[in-house]
Amino acid sequence: MIFGYSFGDLGSILAMQGFAGLILFSVYVLMALGLAVIFGQMGVINMAHGEFMILGAYVTYLCSHLFTAYLPGLFAIYFFVAVLLAFAAAFALGLLVEWAMIRHLYRRPLDTLLATWGLSLVLQQLYRSIFGAREVGVELPDWMMGSQHLTDTIEVPINGLLVMGLTTIITIGVFLLIYRSNWGKRIRAVMQNRTMAAAVGIDTEFVDRVTFGVGCGIAGVAGSAFTMIGSTSPTAGQLYIVDTFLVVVFGGAASLLGTIASAFSISQTQSTIEFFLSGSMAKVLTLLAVVGILMLRPQGLFVLKVRR
């Protein structure tokens, strides 16, 4: 008996909280993927990453309302349309931001940090002016609301499974893009040696722009997933940016697998502890654990073994 629960109960609680953590896990993975791709590619820490996520969330919110008003017959599938549009909107904004701002600041990490932080404030104000300061939420179609009974005590939410599936597809997509496609060869060449990438004929500026856009686009998709666990507000993105940094650092910035493992352990720890203690206590314990592990393994969970 622990905390007054029997072991059977504990098993169910762990499983249930584990499934409840799925969406959080998905949001972390997607956010961290985007952030890591951008950081790995051009050494830019995008402080506005959370706002790109919120852009995706607002697009999803708009979709849910537009479908209710104009296409109620297709409401059941609006979420999939929203995901595509969220990606497209964040991708486009990412291209614009890279072109207008980031490309002038390469090799000046502190300036980029400040500039993207400024951008995050600008975007928050924009959202406030356009959508209002109040939180908004989305309606889910009926089929996504239910849950699947596994046993008497364990239920799996359908939207959690759906978002998991989506995240899996995107993660595999990003993996294929980076490790199996010709675009990925360009991206990795620029990552490993920018000067030499140009000297074998790669247009590094163009690669930078598209990569930044893709990273932001993935944050947009994270925003779609986010609408299922939280309500969207102009500043909601800020709550996630720190957690996402944590995931990236913990996983080891250069490793896709590390990012996933780290997102999983952090989201699961958090959602499991949250059941027994308060949310902020869960945060503190997670943070302590991460700090402890990073002291033992400063390079993060996973590193690539290769001579440089």
């Binding site: 060449a189 000297a199 074998v200 001579r307």
Partner: protein, 229 residues
């Protein structure tokens, strides 16, 4: 094929190359000899557009490329094997070579690259960073050749490589010139290697070309004096 006129390069306030003139004819191999710090690497980087020229012109096959960014120069037909090789360490050998293919489209490395460097075929799926120095040098040359250059630049290719492999390297470079019909500009400190491959030898000292000889008429003792400290 490659014509350099009055090339000036500065790092901040200090000028490193002073009004440098240089020409490499089609099918010719030219060696630029000089001690450390004389400006060989700076010359190569300026030709590639990696450091900007403060004055003068670089022309490739008669067309001025001085204002072009690096990747467009590569598309015009100039390729670079840098000092220290600089292969992409976390990419496989095959992927390293394939990065050179994008300029002219095409996703598969041509077979002759692997015929030139059979060891690369054996190591195809190893990571570049795990190759020996000599193997990395071959990889860097194969990657450069994948861009189908008219002019190949090599910056101290023998640095840190075993003597037996240096002889192979000389033979391979001559074979590439004969078979692919390209021009080669190579910088060196090792005189025997330069004598082995070059049609013409230049000596660079403090950013100026101070001596020039055709291979046949070369005053070895004089060049050696420039190279000794």
């Amino acid at each position: 094929m490659l014509d350099v006129a009055k090339l000036k390069v500065s790092y901040g306030q200090s000028e490193v190359l002073h009004d440098l003139d240089l020409a490499v004819a089609a099918n010719e191999i030219v060696a630029v000899m000089g001690r450390n710090g004389m400006g060989k690497t700076t010359l190569m980087k300026a030709l590639m557009g990696i450091v900007p020229a403060a004055g003068g012109t670089v022309a490739l096959g008669g067309a001025d490329i001085t204002a072009l960014p690096t990747y467009q120069r590569v598309a015009r037909g100039i390729a670079y094997v840098p000092q220290g090789r600089m292969i992409f360490p976390a990419m496989t050998v095959a992927e390293n070579i394939e990065t050179g293919l994008f300029v002219h489209g095409g996703a598969r490395a041509p077979d002759y690259l692997y015929e030139l460097f059979p060891v690369l075929l054996e190591m195809k799926s190893r990571r570049g960073g795990n190759l020996s120095g000599g193997q990395q040098q071959q990889l860097a040359i194969a990657r450069a050749l994948a861009t189908q250059p008219k002019v190949l630049l090599l910056d101290e290719p023998t640095e840190g490589i075993q003597p037996s492999i240096i002889r192979d390297l000389a033979r391979t470079l001559r074979r590439i010139r004969d078979e692919r019909g390209l021009s080669i500009l190579v910088s060196e400190q090792v005189l025997s290697f330069a004598l082995d491959i070059a049609d013409r030898v230049l000596v660079i000292e403090n950013g100026r070309i101070v001596h020039e000889d055709a291979r046949a008429a070369l005053d070895e003792a004089k060049v050696a004096r420039y190279l000794s400290v």
